[in-house]
């Protein structure tokens, strides 16, 4: 049995049956392990055969990219990517002046850059907050302009992807300190403080985001003293911040509850004051624990910003919807929503994969 490579004297090793290893073995265990499974596989393959080729044909083979006018698309049996080719600037940048669109492009690139930078764990230091603060200021300055030869662009003209990302970033960033305070208040020994925090958190979490945005758009002007008007964008942003704060507060509370009681007692016995205890002992541990669930709230918040369409702001989804109102290009809603949906998907999928990986990595170090 020299050809099987067995050492002399050892028991000869029998080769596994051909159907248990290799591609055939994979097929058998994963697709045809039993009669039921075989039937299921064949059924799904038949379904895929019915669905995938026509879909591919619609998406690619019969689709049109270069057309003289939208009329050409109407008769065709495929997707009209010419619609996206014609409208992508409008969907991504909204009504921002065409000559100045390098500015929102740069702003989006800056935000994506900061997101990528934050995925690096070496950057998880207190100065990361300053990076985001500075970066957001630069983004706002870029969008507004009015200096260094850049013309001033009023924020009523902002729209599309930069607006969606800006609402998300500012909403999450401003909500975070508020959320930490609310979570601390909810765990506080002072009954009045606790009641106020619980009341706020549960009220906001119990009602739909739309009602908070309605409140921001129709009730907020009534709250202000006579003569003071607050911009529509800022009002929506305040509503979004309050909404995000309540949800983040619950995540932070989960982290605070996960810290063993001994840590609190040890800090007390060292004679630390309440704020010293929280700042130096509890919060650094609790916040590190809640990073993966926090990323999940970021994802749902990014999707939730699409609701600002209802109070008339011009974010990515509104821009896609508005692109469809052009009489020449009416009816190509599949292309429009597919395009906008893919952009949302890109951001959300990236974040959810990152949070899953992070959870595994952080747990690995904790288990050791």
């Amino acid at each position: 049995m020299a050809e099987t490579g067995t050492a002399p004297g050892a028991t000869p090793v029998a080769r596994p049956p051909a159907l248990a290893v290799g591609p055939l073995g994979w097929l058998r265990t994963n697709l045809f392990s039993s009669w039921g499974n075989t039937l299921l596989t064949l059924l799904i393959l038949w379904g895929l055969w019915r669905v995938v080729p026509p879909l591919f044909d619609w998406l690619v083979t019969s689709s049109l990219v270069n057309v003289a006018s939208s009329q050409e698309c109407r008769g065709a049996g495929g997707a009209c990517w010419a619609f996206v080719a014609e409208k992508w600037r409008f969907i991504i940048f909204g009504t921002y002046p065409a000559d100045e669109q390098w500015r929102p492009s740069l702003a989006v690139a800056l935000i994506i850059g900061m997101m990528l930078f934050s995925t690096w764990r070496g950057a998880w230091r207190p100065w990361l907050g300053l990076v985001w603060l500075g970066g957001t200021a630069v983004v706002l300055a870029l969008l507004w302009g009015g200096f260094l030869g850049m013309t001033y662009v009023s924020n009523e003209l902002w729209g599309g992807l930069p607006l969606t990302l800006l609402l998300t970033v500012i909403g999450l960033g401003a909500a975070f300190p508020l959320a930490v305070l609310l979570a601390l208040g909810r765990r506080s020994d002072l009954p009045a403080v606790k009641a106020i925090c619980v009341g706020f958190i549960e009220l906001v979490r119990g009602v739909p985001l739309i009602s908070i945005l309605f409140m921001a758009s129709v009730m907020f002007p009534l709250f202000m003293p006579a003569g003071v008007t607050v911009d529509k964008l800022l009002r929506a942003q305040i509503g979004l911040i309050l909404f995000a704060a309540a949800y983040q507060a619950e995540v932070v509370r989960g982290g605070l509850q996960a810290i063993p009681k001994g840590q609190y007692e040890a800090a007390d016995s060292l004679g630390l004051s309440y704020w010293q205890k929280m700042r130096k002992i509890i919060l650094p541990q609790a916040l590190a624990l809640v990073i993966p669930p926090m990323v999940n709230t970021f994802i749902s918040f990014l999707k939730d910003t699409s609701l600002v369409i209802i109070i008339g702001l011009f974010d990515l989804l509104s821009a896609a919807k508005a692109a469809l109102t052009d009489p020449a290009w009416r009816g190509f809603y599949k292309e429009a929503y597919l395009f906008a949906g893919l952009i949302y998907f890109f951001f959300c999928f990236f974040m959810s994969r990152y949070s899953q990986r992070l959870e595994v990595e952080l747990n690995r170090s904790r288990r050791r």
């Binding site: 403080v193 009602v207 739909p208 309605f214 209802i310 599949k334 959810s352």
Partner: protein
Amino acid sequence: MAIDVRREVPAPRARGSFLSDPKFRSVLYQVLVVGGVILVGWYLVNNTLSNLARQNIATGFGFLGRESSFAIGEHMISYSAADSYGRAILVGILNTIKVSLLGIVAATVLGTIVGIARLSSNWLVRKLALVYVEALRNVPLLLQLFLWYAVITESLPGPRQALQPVEGVFLSNRGFKIPTPSDHPAWDAALLAFLLALVISWIVQRRSAALQARTGRRLPVGIITAGLVIGLPLLTWGGFGAPLVFDVPRLQGFNFVGGATLTPEFAAMLIGLTTYTAAFIAEIVRSGIQAVSWGQTEAASALGLRPGLTLRLVVLPQALRVIIPPLTSQYLNLTKNSSLAVAIGYADLVSVLNTSINQTGQAIEGVALIMACFLTISLGISIFMNWYNKRIALVER
């Protein structure tokens, strides 16, 4: 001789001023916080009142009794533009509850199927379920609702060329038409028989459990229940001579008459809410089943239970304990998400109140009503799910 050490130590006395007294400080902080909140609240209320007075906007809920003078497309109770705002809002609440309840049931069924498919031993099934979950979870619900609504109103043919997937069911851009049983005592009797069968099955189940506890024998509960629930209504219906009377939709002029209608708005809401929430429920079901340790399954097979029984008697009861709390929050999310109906024109609570706010200008009352209604509905779902959670919770001896 033991010395009581505690006697030796003098009781701690407040050093310095009363400012270092923790009790005093706690009271001081709370007074400061509450005072601040009251101050801000008073400032806002004061501004609001002066603004309202300046703009001549009436306050109070008096507008609820006035004539609404707007029409609502679909209503479960009779309603016309001559009815009051209060009745319009009631119509909206009922519509919200209708779409939420149906959505919760459908999303639970679909989500459970997809969640179990995520763990299938079949590679294709597993991957298809994964693609479904990732595709729906990572795109805003509002975008999906717009897409569904556009698919129904723009891509489906008109009533005259309506698609007919099953005899009597029509899909067109005016909505979905389905046949309904027409007025006949046989149907009412069958429904009564069905409810009776449910009650009897429940009693049989109790009896069987008691019998098993006493003697170890079990009645064939599954067969009895199935026989009762299917057989009894059928027998009753047969007793009336098995009348096949259906109100089948048929084309008359440019639209359908007869049967029941799912409006495009309602259908889009229901499909969108169901498919979106099902993606989240699928992940909850998957992680719940995975949370039950593999040893439980192995122990069940070692006892000789078949895979189906293992799932039903061993894995699912344990998985449910993990599944119920996050499932509750998904139900709440679905209910709150039903407020997106305002974007595609389904007459739910929010869109009715939105119209009322635009007509009366009474924004504060309108938003307060929206919030109060949703808080009540959320509270109702929470109470029910907490009761259920307590019922299935582990009873430790």
